[in-house]
């Protein structure tokens, strides 16, 4: 594969830069630059649908990056880019879900091992509401444990703890069916049933995309507090720049059609509630920098 500097990678020589609460790396780090164990590693990954046919479409092209596995902590990685830039493709390749999996070329490694298919070590929260309609909140939250054969009493006990942790009311909500819940509550259920399995990697595909702005801010704060105790590496796909800068320790910026990794940024972690932090001028400076960058990328196409 093409490991050398290619004209398709526009960021090779950019200088390191401080922007607001962010630090722009000179280039997207390659796996060999990170000496530690790596939670996720992409090596020259390309995904082309209908390869060789007239309607062939390349979603992502030659993507190489690595995220280290910070011991006892994990990193919050946001993947940012315009619609259709292959953000979800990257996520679903990590999850091992078809039809994105397997990649057309290149390697996807999770904790050093190639991805063969989906598993509970890589929990995923989707944008669409995916609560099982025929299961109550408690039964939805404990679905993964049920599949692992955990007896009902134990799994319900743990399930109630998690219902409480994601800010739902155990007494009133545990026996409700998804159709009785609001969008925000459904996503709380989705987060609970993923985190209850203690995944090492949590994949979130625009989980708050369908929520109203206020609920969205609340959910961001909830996610930050839950993640602090989850000790997992989070991959969070979004097209909201504020959301990415607020939540992320690290932000990847993609260009579109085909998706390429353009920039890697380190960002200060959230130290205040979303509403307060997002008002900070330094926060805004970072947001504007990324917005201009994406705008330029779109124009130069």
């Amino acid at each position: 594969m093409n490991n050398s500097t290619s004209p398709t990678q526009p960021d090779e020589t950019a200088p390191s830069q401080e922007v607001g609460i962010g630090h722009v790396l000179p280039h997207v780090r390659r796996p060999e630059e990170i000496p530690r164990t790596q939670a996720v590693q992409f090596r020259n990954v390309t995904k082309t649908y209908n390869a060789g046919q007239a309607n062939a479409f390349t979603a992502i092209e030659n993507i190489t990056f690595a995220v280290e596995d910070l011991p006892d902590k994990g990193e919050f990685v946001c993947v940012l880019g315009p619609s259709g830039c292959g953000k979800s493709t990257i996520l679903r390749l990590i999850a091992g879900l078809q039809p994105q999996h397997p990649a057309t070329s290149g390697e996807v490694l999770v904790l050093g091992a190639p991805v063969l298919g989906p598993g509970p070590d890589r929990g995923m929260v989707f944008q669409d509401y995916t609560s099982f309609d025929h299961r109550t909140v408690l039964e939805n939250v404990t679905f993964g444990l049920e599949c692992q054969g955990v007896p009902r009493r134990q799994r319900y006990e743990l399930g109630r703890e998690w219902i409480n942790k994601v800010g739902l009311n155990v007494q009133t909500d545990q026996h409700k069916y998804p159709h009785e819940l609001s969008g925000g509550m459904r996503q709380r259920v989705a987060i609970a049933r993923t985190l209850i399995l203690r995944p090492r990697i949590i994949l979130m595909d625009e989980p708050f995309g369908a929520l109203d702005p206020l609920t969205r801010l609340n959910m961001q704060d909830l996610l930050v507090s839950l993640w602090r105790t989850a000790q997992a590496t989070v991959f969070f796909v979004t097209h909201s720049i504020e959301e990415a800068v607020y939540l992320g320790d690290r932000v990847y910026i993609l260009s579109s059609s085909p998706g390429r990794l353009v920039k890697e940024m380190e960002v200060a972690p959230p130290d205040r509630p979303a509403t307060a932090m997002q008002r900070d001028p330094r926060f805004q400076e970072t947001v504007y920098y990324i917005r201009d960058l994406i705008f330029q990328l779109e124009k130069s196409k």
Binding site: D72, A95, L97, L111, G117, P118, G119, P120, D121, R122, G123, M124, F126, D128, T130, F132, D133, H134, F143, G144, L145, E146, C147, Q148, G149, V150, P151, R152, Q154, E157, L158, E161, K165, Y177, P178, H179, R193, T194, L195, L197, R198, P199, R200, L203, T229, A230, Q231
Partner: protein, 354 residues
């Protein structure tokens, strides 16, 4: 839209004379809220009343065309008997021809034949909906089963299954099973892929996806199609019963056939009136079962759903008692080290499925 109200609601809005040339006619057409507005909601009592009006109208028409002495009638009595003549034979039909017993015989056959079609057709359909290659393998049988002329099957069922009860039961089974399979498969296919993806990322195996996700999510749609197909089966049983082969067949179709040959003809009209009543009763029964089974779709308390869950929980308990418990290592470790299993310790073992 309403006009902006002035700040003080008590004071009337100042009457500003409209400028010359401004159209002050009411906006829009008032085509809502009248009897013939499109999709205007109807009160339940109105719906019932209108249905009764329709029935009264039909009987009135019937009475009108058969009123008077035999010669004055619009339709002569050898074609259509009058309502009085028809209902006059109800006593005879009920007692001498045992209407109720024959209704039960017919129902028994439909329930057995259709039940067999469900028991075989639904699981096969679910598998066909899950596995595209199995569906491709079955598709010739489905096309054949859905398109054979059913009347032509009757002689064949007599050759194969004899003239007893088995004949009618198997006829209903053959008539319905292809539809049941096709509908069940389609219901499974209609479940969104995102549920499968979700289940897999939560560690479900293939059997869990089929049994715990796809089948229960498709079940409301499957039940709905079964309810419609039961109406179809009830229609087919008449066909099989009209074709009288033995002496003591029984059933509503047999009763029609006997009344046709030996009279009185009024009985045929009575039976034709009785069939929709039976069908309505069954449909209502199935509707209430459906509501009770799927409260997450139709609301309500869902007693049958609760009963089903209770049974599944008992099955769970038996499994736990019989099989050795195998908690995931990370969960046991967490419970032991932490007592109340709060989430602020790192799992000491690798997570499940890693």
């Amino acid at each position: 839209m309403a006009d902006k109200q002035p700040a003080d609601p008590a004071s009337p809005a100042p009457q500003v004379p409209p400028a010359a040339g401004v159209d002050v006619a009411p906006r829009g057409r008032d085509n809502q809220g009248t009897w013939f507005s499109i999709r205007q909601p109807t009160q339940p009592w109105q719906a019932v009343l209108l249905g009764i009006v329709c029935i009264v109208f039909c009987f009135g028409l019937w009475w009108l065309v058969t009123a008077g002495e035999a010669e004055q009638r619009i339709l002569t009595s050898d074609k259509v008997p009058s309502p009085q003549e028809t209902f006059g034979t109800l006593h005879d039909l009920w007692f001498n021809r045992a209407l109720m017993r024959n209704i039960i015989v017919t129902l028994q056959r439909v329930v057995l034949g259709f039940g067999l079609a469900i028991v075989i057709g639904v699981p096969v359909g679910i598998l066909a909906g899950c596995f595209t290659r199995f569906a491709a393998f079955l598709s010739p049988l489905i096309i054949f089963g859905r398109n054979i002329p059913l009347a032509a099957l009757i002689p064949l069922t007599i050759f194969i299954f004899g003239i007893g009860e088995l004949r009618t039961v198997m006829f209903i089974f053959i008539a319905c099973v292809a539809f049941v399979v096709a509908d069940a498969a389609q219901s499974i296919l209609d479940v969104d892929t995102r549920y499968i993806d979700t289940a897999y990322t939560l560690g479900a195996h293939r059997r869990h996806v089929i049994l715990k996700v796809l089948t229960p999510l498709a079940m409301p749609a499957i039940f709905n199609s079964l309810r419609l197909l039961f109406g179809l089966a009830f229609g087919y049983i008449m066909l099989a019963e009209l074709f009288v082969v033995g002496g003591e067949d029984g059933g509503l179709g047999y009763l029609i056939s006997v009344s046709q040959r030996r009279g009185p003809r009024e009985h045929i009209y009575l039976i034709i009136l009785a069939i929709p009543l039976v069908a309505l009763a069954i449909d209502r029964l199935l509707y209430h079962i459906q509501r009770s089974l799927f409260p997450y779709r139709y609301g309500g308390p869902g007693y049958l759903n609760n009963g089903l869950k209770w049974l599944l929980h008992r099955w769970d308990d038996i499994k736990v008692a019989v099989l050795p418990s195998h908690l995931p290592a990370w969960l046991t470790a967490e419970r032991l080290t932490n007592g109340n299993a709060s989430s602020d310790t790192k799992p000491t073992d690798t997570p499940p499925g890693a």
